[in-house]
Symmetry: C2
């Protein structure tokens, strides 16, 4: 029987490359999108749908879970409209926790993914977590994922589901390089943290993405604001 | 400053006793109810509200999170209307996983609780998990909670939030005994797994509850169906 794999697809650049990596395995792919009503959720949802189309994922293997209540928990600039998204700063790359941190967010996402996986017999869950991307986020380190895999062993029927993090230790340069080799449709991905039609080019996420393309002498196919 | 504690209040008997135990600490209590649209959610929500009133929890320290999408994940008799809730059987007390199991449910619940806790500075989270109650549920064992506490250390900013399971190794007899001593308002709790106005008295949960009262020579204040 064909192996089933679940891919967490945020619609960001890394998740696009993740889809390309998972697609190489020839597993039957299931795409899960969590809408936690961050400021850019409309853009991300639209990218999710385009990625589903690109990778030929039929409706019954797509799931969107609405996590509107995370907005209510608050305390993150990504969901709380009273906290402004800050522009890129070297501080956020030196291990401090950025204001965009949503408390324990990846545990919520992974728990939901495991729940769906266990109910339909999926054994592998891909997440595009990346240490360089977010050095200050406690739940983006490999040690956190190792711990989560232990929790799955303890907390599921068979204990045989595994979280895979193929991008965890890659630099953005390498992610873009890999995506380019695998023909990732970068034009269907959105990385900017700000709420706008065109990416700002200034927030942490835009700056890292642009740097990744520049280091490969490639042009990012999406548009950026000019000023 | 007064310590803050979060209590997971399902509205079941054990969560009522849990409230009484936490109330003894004199911490500032926060009550969290997860509505995962199981068959008895209306009854349980009503009990949650009565317990909030009884324990003087103001509105700003109550939170109800709607997990309607768990119904969509399915594969449990508690949420999936195509699976019937079975009557009590010795099998379900011998370590097999009952049909009422929702995949990885407690991890979803705990992740949400930790997210709220971290955002408002709560350090202790009480959950009424109990091994006797559900010996076949992989996520009701102490080893699972130990693992979850490790995950919190890895995945939160300060790593200082702790899950407390004061009922984990108690027998139902002892839970009723403790609740009775602490004046738990048992009349504001609902344990039956079935969808009805009056508890069935026959499902796993009713049978265990009634046994707990009988072993203490106490009368359960809620009504049961007669047949």
């Amino acid at each position: 029987m064909q192996k089933k794999s679940l891919i967490l697809v945020s619609g960001g650049m890394d998740s696009g490359v993740l889809c390309s990596i998972a697609a190489q395995t020839k597993d039957e792919l299931y795409f899960l999108h969590l809408n936690y009503h961050n400021k850019t959720h409309i853009k991300e949802l639209s990218c999710f749908r385009k990625l589903c189309t690109h990778f030929n994922i039929p409706a019954e293997r797509q799931k969107i879970i609405d996590l509107a209540f995370l907005k209510d928990i608050g305390s993150s600039s990504l969901t709380d409209s009273s906290i402004e998204v800050s522009d890129f700063s070297e501080i956020s790359l030196q291990g401090e926790i950025p204001s965009s941190y949503v408390p324990f967010r990846n545990s919520i996402i992974l728990s939901l993914a495991v729940s769906w996986a266990e109910s339909i017999g999926i054994r592998s869950i891909y997440i595009g977590a990346n240490e360089e991307d977010s050095p200050g986020y406690p739940d983006c380190r490999q040690s956190y994922y190792d711990c989560f895999n232990q929790l799955i062993k303890q907390g599921t029927k068979e204990g045989d589901i595994q979280i895979l993090t193929p991008l965890i230790s890659l630099m953005k340069k390498e992610i873009v390089e890999q995506g380019n080799q695998l023909h990732t449709p970068f034009e269907h991905t959105w990385s900017c943290y700000k709420e706008a039609d065109i990416a700002c080019g200034k927030c942490d996420s835009c700056v890292l993405r642009l740097k990744g393309f520049a280091q490969n002498d490639l042009k990012d196919p999406i548009d950026y604001q000019k000023d």
